[in-house]
């Protein structure tokens, strides 16, 4: 079965919109995640608490 035969009956504009939304949302979440990781790394490890 070729891709063009298997494709769902959905308008290209709908798929385009969600593809763009996936790219934007995940790019933003990725950027935020990198920012947080960098923040944690700069702060260094926390002192061991309690009995550790």
């Amino acid at each position: 079965m070729k891709t063009k035969d298997a494709v769902s009956p959905i308008a290209a504009s709908q798929v385009g919109t969600t593809l763009a939304a996936f790219i934007v949302v995940y790019a933003l979440l990725g950027a935020v995640a990198f920012y947080l990781i960098a923040k944690h790394v700069r702060r260094g490890p926390e002192p061991v608490r309690g009995e550790g």
Binding site: S8, P9, I10, Q14, T18, A21, V25, L29, V32, L36, K39
Partner: protein, 341 residues
Amino acid sequence: MLETIWFLLWGVLWAVYFMLDGFDLGLGTLMPVVAKTDTERRLVYHVMGPFWDCNEVWLITAGGVTFAAFPTTYATMFSGLYSALMLILFALIVRGVSFAFRDEVNSPRWKCVWDTCLVVGSFLPALLLGVAFANIFHGLPIDKDGIYQGTLFTLLNPYGLAGGILFVLLFLVHGALWLAVKTSGDLHDRAAKLLPKLWAALLVMAVLFLLASLRATFLYDNYFANPALFLILAVTVAALVMIRVYIAKASWWRAWFASSLTIVGTTLFGVVGLYPKLLPSSIDPAFSLTAFNSSSSPLTLKIMLAVALTFVPIVIAYQAWVHHVFRHKSGEEDLEHEEGY
């Protein structure tokens, strides 16, 4: 026979999903109304934290079962409701992230962004799941090839919107009860004070929806053909009334269980009314997708039954264990040791 078993399991999985995720979707929607300070908002996250992702396991299961047991229905449902389901998906994505990111930066603006994600990401799925199911009860414009001949706006008809509002109110009551169960102090008192009003709104909406279903759907045909089935409706209405009785007695756990039964009963009322149709066609009843014309092979259904009977009890067991571990009420002192979810 196998088809009927899987049809019922399909309905039960959706019902359990609504019952479980309902409380955290409702509480997420309700947060700005009940939580006034940052500590209170953190507590709202805290009482959902260990449970919300367990609850969403049931959404994946319900979707997976639709795919595996009724592939033709899955194809029509997920293509036809594409925009609505994608909106739900994006809402759940930003909502899930808000639990992880909210307390990572100590700035009011940062927290406000994620709180907004939580509220919108809770409200939209609640509303759209209700809209989607009311439209399934009503029938979708499905042609003879099983292709959906409508748009997102086809779904926003009065009956569909009534279903959306009904779901939002069911989940708001469910979420407020969860907060009343899991907290004490101001948060608990605000939830308790709000509940009678939320319940009254739910009662009005439930009556309207049941009457509207008489006109907008064929759900009652099965019930009139087999009046014993009206027991489902009777139990659901009784559970709805018992919520109010237990609220008056301040028996929060019991009220929450009555609310659970109300949500399960509401879903099963629709599912039993649909049988054997999974997706009725509003163009011609002959185009409807049923448990029989859209199912997988009997061998697939048999293997899936064995798999389900093995793994569902394991899932129920670990989720019960989570509820046991986090059975206590949450207070400010719990926030000190919070590592985030």
